[in-house]
Subunit: 243 residues, 6 copies
């Protein structure tokens, strides 16, 4: 890094290596968040300092499916704490952890919460964490992209569409599976979540490891989503820079 890089926003993409149904690769989350991050870097090359994607994620709820490589939540928390400590040590003042795997949100947030509470050295830093689908939520509204399902979940219409656009050659759409949600109540939907958090491994909710309706995925939807996401993340980081 150069001296001037310290004034940039460090962006660390957070991925995973976990089973994504029978049709999408283990590195799906890593591919997607990396694609978003690289597009953002193209637009904000002077403002962000982009790190390589951390593919090792908190995916223990997927370990029932062979191929998943993961650390438990509390170790992921320790990893993120020490990574951000490294940024502080280097003199960075703004850190944006751009997440691409749902399972990383809780342990990642645990990490940045504890850092702020533990030491004054973070008082002069802004440390943020969000998933690209949360940052870009309004822009990902299904009606804007012709989606048949309401939200991005896991190995779903959304993720599969973006993978088809980016890495169609390694997708196995002939092996797509789909199943109805196990729970669909006003308080909780076993794929989209809801108003309560539930402790269960993925195998409970998704027999084949895919959620939503990946069969409706198309590369066109994927391109459209990716463009929308990139725009929102760019806008968010520009906002973040002004804090």
């Amino acid at each position: 890094m150069q001296e001037a890089d310290k004034n940039k926003v460090v962006v660390l993409p957070l991925g995973s290596l976990e089973q994504h149904g029978h049709h999408s690769p283990l590195l799906t989350d890593t591919y997607l968040v990396t694609a978003v991050a690289q597009r953002v870097e193209q637009e904000l090359s002077e403002q962000i300092y982009l790190l390589p994607t951390l593919w090792l994620g908190a995916s223990d709820h997927h370990l029932d499916r062979p191929g998943t490589v993961s650390v438990p939540n509390h170790i992921y928390t320790l990893m993120i704490k020490n990574i951000v400590r490294s940024f502080a040590k280097a003199g960075f003042q703004r850190v944006f952890l751009l997440n691409g795997h749902g399972g990383n949100v809780v342990p990642g947030t645990q990490a940045i919460t504890e850092l702020a509470n533990e030491s004054d050295i973070y008082d002069n830093m802004w440390i943020a964490l969000s998933s690209y689908w949360t940052v870009a939520e309004p822009a990902m509204a299904p009606e804007h992209h012709g989606m048949e399902t309401p939200h991005l979940t896991h190995a779903c219409e959304y993720e599969t569409s973006m993978m088809l656009f980016l890495h169609g050659e390694i997708m196995r759409m002939d092996r797509v599976t789909s199943s109805p949600p196990l729970i669909d109540s006003p308080f909780y939907h076993s794929e989209h979540g809801g108003r309560i958090n539930v402790g269960k491994r993925l195998v409970t909710w998704a027999p084949t490891g895919a959620m939503g309706k990946p069969q409706h995925a198309t590369p066109e939807k994927g391109e459209s989503l990716l463009n929308a996401i990139t725009g929102e993340v760019v806008a968010c980081i520009k906002d973040f820079e002004t804090w």
Copy 2:
């Protein structure tokens, strides 16, 4: 406990002991979640097994304010894991952690996530965690209760109203403070949160330890909120029982 209690939903209210501005007591969160839980128990006495509220919470972000008593997030995670382990050991099959303090959500969710991932003994259990304001979100819509602010935050119009209704005699409305939000952007509001998680201690956002506009609180609003919340939590637990 009796043998028959094992078939009930264990409800453990999670509170805190932390500064709540100059006008509301340290135990505000504990009082409120206890009040909700007791009202729920009145309606579901045959279905729930209610534990005493755990007042020790994850409030390290409030420690800058004297009076706060707290454990760091990762220790709160360990507490919750071992409490739920105790329930499993006793033979309970449904656990509902009814939360009343925002800072408990991440470490509590970290706990139930890790439990499910670590051992098959939780496979036959349903373990849920949610804050009463999340469970009751639709029913707490400001227009239903004459609120001037959009959400429950901390020592705010919502919490203060309910405290006035429940424990008006210990409230110090003569000492109410209020201040504008530090950040109010499309991506993040320093009181209501937003699309990103940020690692900062409360002292950054709220100079006096109160958020929102507690000066607009009234006991009438509090009663109305409490009734609505109780109804939603009752409905949620009835739904949870059917899973």
Copy 3:
């Protein structure tokens, strides 16, 4: 809390939620230590700052009995360390951890020992921990109260008497059980302890979870004990204030 509270002795009662035979409630220890603490507060209202009782204790040796909710010793140690850290942060200088559950003594003492060793910030503080039956040992001598057994143990004549006096309506004296001690040698008594510490779960010593002879309990003995205990704890805290 008020600024002036910092000069008071913080008193934190430590309880448990664990099986107490078939006749006394899970919260027996919590009820008793709370009753003692409240009586002490009545006499020392200007001198002590009383916190709510922490009912979550180190009762893993009782987990074989359903209903017990507990954390392992080393986590209890972490809880106590962080609670006392909170008191230090707030500016208190005298902390008295008033214990009501035998299993908390070792991990609680581990906590205050480590705090003193770890940081100079505790050098100006006095941090004490004791069980009410240890503080009041001379005053609880069995001959003063007409007791038939020599010491307070667990769900015993002593605890049951005080519970009968305080909460007789929830006691189930029709279900009292009693059994002879498993080991009764000059070096160790399986109920009263002795000159050595032994690692065993309670189920080894007490088949029904009750020790001593609770059948001899009366509310009159309980009232007498409670008065004696209160007097001694008051005297002890007055002494502690002068250090």
Copy 4:
């Protein structure tokens, strides 16, 4: 070890390496507990399996005095847990941790408590821990040995007497120091302890690192004490064998 050794009581002496005033060596506790253990072994050679003394103890409260080598309490707990686990793995069924340093009692008891609670593999084992002065308390009564002080504390009349008898050539009686107790109340004596536990480092209580009145020590008193202690520990282990 031989196959037959598994039926013996494993005896592990626990010492320390910590400052003991200006007149007694760092290894005082280690020398003393080793001497006791060796005398016990002479009498019970067929019944006990004696390990070498573990000199690394929990003496962080002595670290203010150069020369002390120590681990914090929670690490000592982990050491003892894993040592006893090794005994279980080898097939031993009775373990006696014979302690010679006060600071080891709490973390050692934390260890054996947690082991019993954590796993059924210890259900068939008897695991005990005690300091030689506690086992031998009645036999060490001051009037039996012509002592001028009431209890064994640290670098005191008792320890110094035994060291003079055992290793007089390395004692520096010309450098003996003594000072009055800092606190001497009905509830707490800063050298002998009392009815409450207090978190303080030794430097608070003993300016030179010696307690009691070591100037009254004589080798004759030491021999008398050592004989009495040996007798009681032998009796205790014989009792322990019958459990």
Copy 5:
């Protein structure tokens, strides 16, 4: 992954992101071990299952140099333990951790040692860890490649040569620095190590963060080294497969 992959040797390349003098990129170790791994995969595509390189390494000894991103050793140990646990869960039986950063060796070996000791589930697995320069030591002898320095160290003639061959466009040979070793005795050389291990941060040994004589690096040497290394690692894994 496919079912048949379980019979392959999992190869996980371990890299770092740390300062490498003023002339070589932060990801030097990651680039190099990835290049080796990819060449090995080309030759052993049927026999190995190659994972993406883990760039997050144990580089805390480099944190004095801005840009380094690292976790402490004990957290790296936990990461590796959980990664290998994931492989065991998936059914793999041979794991080769191919290391490219010196700082990973000790914590990585700590990890695989503990795994083998902790659980029988690893008894049927072969878990190996080595750095490519150790596997290929004989083949990297300086005389085979025209090297002027005896060993690969850090940002040195060896690493720089391979980087020039692989990624010459990002190398800054105009900024190469070099300095004499601080200690050069028969027992220890501050760059090449020796017969003792020493606890020191890199800043002690290498003022600019480069060791050895990178000014002698050429892409030709790099190509020659890379070919030799690949050959040896291929041979090693073929050997490993037969165990």
Copy 6:
């Protein structure tokens, strides 16, 4: 210790208590490293401050053999970290951990690496760790001592020879066992190690717990080895003193 001792090199011998075949005692490593250390002290009495040998080592890979007493690697790391912290606290500036058990090398090195990385208080200290056979490697070359095997391993010709010289009366040469190595390839030898680290318990490699060919041991070889080792360690510490 005396004030002047602070200028000396602290030497802490690290041993183990673990099975060593059927012919050599559990404390073999402890006896040997102690013998080396005492001989070194005789030659360098003014320069080194020798501590008692720490017999509790990281021998979990030997736990399958009854009699072994051990802690897991990560706890050994914590022990060593806190021991060296004690030396720093006392004012020592040079620490040499003289190891006598192979299993201690990785966790001991993990310890001194982390200490250097964690705090500046070690910047002015030199902290070294090495096994006596590594320090003395050139001087132990088999041809110098008439050895039939190439390296010191475990309960082998080398260790047994030295034990015969030092403690012949407790050796059971009538019970010596020997077995061929399980793996003997250019990359790995199951007794001497090789170019890769492998996670396996000792029981895999050595059915009786002895390696190499102890039947060739003689006290004469042992004396010759011990003299050579002592000379090299003395030379090494003299060198270390000059850093």
